[in-house]
């Protein structure tokens, strides 16, 4: 008996409720933009400059006491958050202390770090500092620029590749799906104020890769079916293609999510934000390749006169063989 998440024959009409699904996506994107512009992202020190100190203690942790201890140092914006994780031992109390780069500092003031550490030690003698990270304001500005460039470069490279391999309508559809995924991911980071650091950019780019992977598989089938069923209308072809690949789409998403959820729960708090971004990205990425990319394709229409005679003959990989 096989486990089947999707029956072997499906014929869902994915465009029946296209107004609802597409509308939902647009609403979610608008909501993300609103949250982003009103609440903003909780930028980590990579982007904002400043210092984070991870504290670990066997004593019960009270964020308030820590805050009071740091009050006299006048560090400006200080955030102290307690970290909880299923992998921690019973008496392992961890917190992240973050403060901004001090005014006038071009580089990192070691004295400030030492002052903070001794202030914390005075209220909690058994506290230790497993990690201390500081980024100067000069670098952080550049990191923002590189990050934005990286995302733009990735999207344009991919846009170009799909345009080369398919048609421009496909490329636009795929990129619309990508933008959808990135906007929603940034939205959820703004909504829950999850620290946004350099690793999240890596996660965003991975989402770009994953979402494309999904979209390209659907598009590949669309291309094939367009040649096979020359008489069928575009909506029919798209529906058929999504149904054909649905089982695969679900299977791959589930296996990837299985792996990601294992990391999310057991992988420790250091990479939790990173893994969370990827998990969320896989979910919205799967959704967008089924509902967003194809909708754009249906709206734009495609050239039906594929001059190439057969699905494989014009394909540069036709002769790749084991």
């Amino acid at each position: 008996m096989r486990l089947k998440l999707v029956p072997s024959e499906t014929s869902f009409d994915f465009f029946k409720a296209s107004k609802v699904t597409f509308g939902l996506s647009i609403l979610a994107m608008i909501f993300s933009a609103v949250v982003f512009f009103s609440a903003g992202l909780n930028f980590g020190i990579d982007f904002k400059g400043g210092t984070t100190i991870r504290t670990e203690s066997t004593q019960v942790l009270d964020v308030g006491i820590y805050r009071d201890a740091l009050q006299p140092l006048e560090l400006g914006d200080v955030t102290i958050t307690q970290v909880f994780d299923p992998t921690f031992a019973e008496d392992q109390n961890v917190a992240m202390v973050r403060f901004e780069a001090q005014v006038g500092d071009e580089s990192i003031a070691a004295e400030t770090v030492i002052a903070v550490q001794s202030a914390l030690r005075s209220v909690d003698p058994v506290v230790s500092f497993p990690s201390v990270e500081s980024v100067g304001p000069k670098v952080s500005g550049e990191l923002v620029k590189t990050a934005i460039l990286a995302v733009i470069a990735a999207i344009s490279a991919v846009l170009f590749y799909i345009w080369l391999r398919f048609e421009w309508q496909f490329a636009l559809g795929a990129v619309a799906a990508l933008v959808h995924d990135i906007v929603l991911t940034i939205g959820i980071f703004a909504l829950f104020q999850i620290p946004f650091d350099l690793a999240i950019i890596a996660a965003l780019l991975t989402i770009v890769g994953y979402s494309l992977n999904d979209t390209v598989v659907v598009f590949d089938r669309v291309r094939e079916n367009l040649r096979k069923f020359k008489k069928m209308d575009l909506r029919g072809v798209l529906n058929l293609s999504i149904n054909d690949t649905l089982s695969r789409t679900v299977m791959t998403s589930v296996t990837t999510l299985l792996a990601l959820i294992a990391l999310l729960v057991l992988g420790g708090d250091v990479i939790r934000g990173f893994i969370f971004a990827m998990t969320w990205g896989v979910i919205v990425g799967t959704y967008s390749s089924v509902f967003v990319a194809t909708n754009i394709l249906l709206y734009l229409g495609v050239k039906r006169d594929w001059s190439k005679p057969d699905a494989n003959a014009g394909n540069q990989f036709a002769n790749v063989d084991a």
Binding site: L205, D214, N312
Partner: protein, 553 residues
């Protein structure tokens, strides 16, 4: 139908075995690490029974490459430093002043008296008392220029000289500045490397980043502060004639003099001649030692040039004091009692044994050509790294097992074949990472886990396709063949797009992001290989033995 030539089978299995063999050392991490360390130790310092035992714990004919563990996994310190190249411009300009003074002094009749004017540190402004002689002065000073030897600066000279009224201005040319930047960076890199190596830690990363930055990562060091103390000190050692001693920090030092604070007497300042007698570049050795009172000190020795200069100076100035200056602080100002001819000496101050050892290391490695500003510093404790490894391991095992079970349940026998391929795939990633000596970081582990999830994608595509083809095709062999054939374009397109993002991540990212990009990129390559070639080969081999009339995917 469903045939694979023998040579292809050999190549495929050969690659798989190769991957596995290269991955193997990582399974015995500490033993192999001990072996590698022992081999190096034996090469450097001869064999001892313990070292030989450590070496023989891992057979020499086996590959012994290991994945390096990144700072976030091993613990250590990370620094991003910016080299203040302007310091060197100022030094260069100061170096031109005596030369310029000498050539103009010879032509005093034409240019009159000369006087250095206050200016920005990278500009030399000189006033001559007879403006009519400017043309001759310019000609003479231009004669000091020498050609710049760089690829970009062909045909240009190192200085630019101009005159306006009675003021002559000398600046470094653009080509010379670029050449100086390059040289300064290289020197700094080299000196940092020497200093870090002297401490003897494992696999430090010391890289140039961009135009004037240096990235330093040292695993196993206690904190970024410690690392900064080691590499951030300029350790510029000079010996100056002493003009006077004062407790007034505002006193005017005089034309060719400088005012330098004392290291161990607070409030005391020395007035010294600006031009040193000898400087640290002439040092050939420095060793921690003890002075005649038994206090920790540093012994040093000059090269012949330095020894001669120092000897001449001491012979001529018996009875007068001279100052030993380290990084703009007078360490001590002893009186010269005798002609010091051997070219060696001792620096004693109120040092601890550790401090004198460190000072010796710094002096031996040489002075940094310029100061550094630290833009980024990170310390990761070794316990945190160990926690991350442990958590990553458990998560990876759970992730792996759940994917394996899920695939088995979904595709039966074919799922099991995909699982074999998946295990080979992960082993090959480890093998490749060890082979290229890549560094495994925490995001890297995430990259591998993500690959586990996505690696099955290619197989899922193929299996789903075989299922479809089974409905129409004649016989299972044909269905399998068509399944592979038709799924191929989707697999290739999908993986190339992901690969593009991995490449962009690698190019634009730094640190852990790069580690992630490397594992992701390698994972894509190995997963395509295992999905297309390995599973196909296994299926064909199974098919040849059983010749089933029907198959169920």
């Amino acid at each position: 139908m469903l045939q694979i030539q023998t040579w292809k089978r050999v190549v495929i299995w050969g690659l798989v075995v190769l991957g596995l063999v290269f991955a193997l050392p990582n399974g015995f991490y500490s033993r192999v690490e001990g072996h590698n360390d022992a081999v190096v130790a034996i090469e450097n310092g001869g064999e001892t029974p313990e070292l030989a035992a450590a070496r023989d714990a891992w057979p020499a004919w086996m590959p012994s490459g290991l994945m390096n563990l990144g700072l976030d996994l091993r613990g250590g310190a990370h620094l991003l430093a910016e080299v203040r190249v302007e310091d060197v411009y100022a030094d260069r300009i100061n170096g031109y002043w005596p030369e310029l003074r000498n050539v103009l002094r010879d032509e005093r009749a034409v240019v009159g008296t000369i006087r250095r004017q206050p200016s920005a540190p990278d500009v030399l402004r000189v006033k001559i008392s007879q403006p009519d002689g400017m043309a001759r002065a310019l000609e003479l000073v231009r004669g000091l220029a020498s050609p710049v030897q760089t690829l970009a600066g062909v045909g240009s000279t190192d200085i630019e000289v101009s005159g306006a009224g009675d003021i002559l201005t000398l600046t470094l040319s653009e080509a010379e500045r670029l050449a100086t930047d390059v040289r300064t960076l290289q020197q700094s890199l080299e000196i940092i490397r020497r200093r870090v190596d002297e401490v003897g830690t494992r696999e430090p990363t010391i890289q140039r980043q961009g135009e004037r930055r240096i990235l330093i990562q040292v695993p196993g060091i206690g904190s970024a502060e410690e690392l900064k103390a080691l590499i951030g000190t300029t350790a510029k050692l000079t010996f100056h004639p002493v003009v006077g001693r004062t407790s007034d920090s505002t006193v005017a030092a005089g034309a060719r003099n400088i005012l330098v604070p004392s290291l161990d007497e607070p409030g005391v300042f020395y007035i010294l001649e600006r031009t040193p007698v000898v400087n640290g570049e002439d040092l050939v050795d420095a060793q921690p030692a003890f002075d005649q009172n038994g206090a920790p000190a540093v012994n040093f020795r000059f090269n012949p040039t330095g020894a001669r200069k120092f000897g001449d100076y001491t012979a001529e100035n018996i009875g007068s004091p001279f100052a030993i200056v380290l990084d703009n602080e007078v360490i001590s100002a002893p009186t010269i009692r005798d002609h010091i001819s051997g070219g060696s000496g001792i620096i004693s101050g109120s040092y601890s044994v550790e401090e004198s050892t460190k000072l010796a290391i710094l002096l031996r490695a040489g002075a940094l050509p310029a100061e550094m500003t630290f833009l980024e510093e990170r310390t990761i404790g070794p316990e945190l790294g160990q926690d991350s490894i442990d958590a990553g391991k458990i998560a990876a095992i759970v992730a792996g097992i759940s994917v394996l079970v899920f695939m088995g349940l979904s595709y039966g026998l074919f799922g099991l074949i995909a699982n074999v391929a998946l295990i080979i795939n992960v082993a090959m990633i480890f093998g490749l990472l060890s082979m290229i000596g890549a560094t495994l970081t925490l995001p890297g582990i995430a990259g591998i886990v993500l690959t586990v999830g996505m690696a099955v994608d290619a197989n899922v595509l193929i299996f789903e396709r075989i299922r479809e083809e089974l409905k129409t095709a004649r016989g299972p062999a044909r269905a399998i063949e068509l399944g592979y054939e038709k799924a191929l374009s989707a697999i290739i397109d999908a993986n190339i797009t992901t690969f593009i993002t991995a490449v962009i991540l690698f190019i634009m990212g730094s640190g852990p992001v790069r580690g992630f990009a490397v594992t992701l990129g390698l994972g894509i390559m190995t997963s395509v290989f295992t999905a297309i070639f390995v599973t196909r080969l296994i299926i064909v081999m199974w098919f040849e033995r059983r010749r089933p009339k029907t198959i169920e995917v």
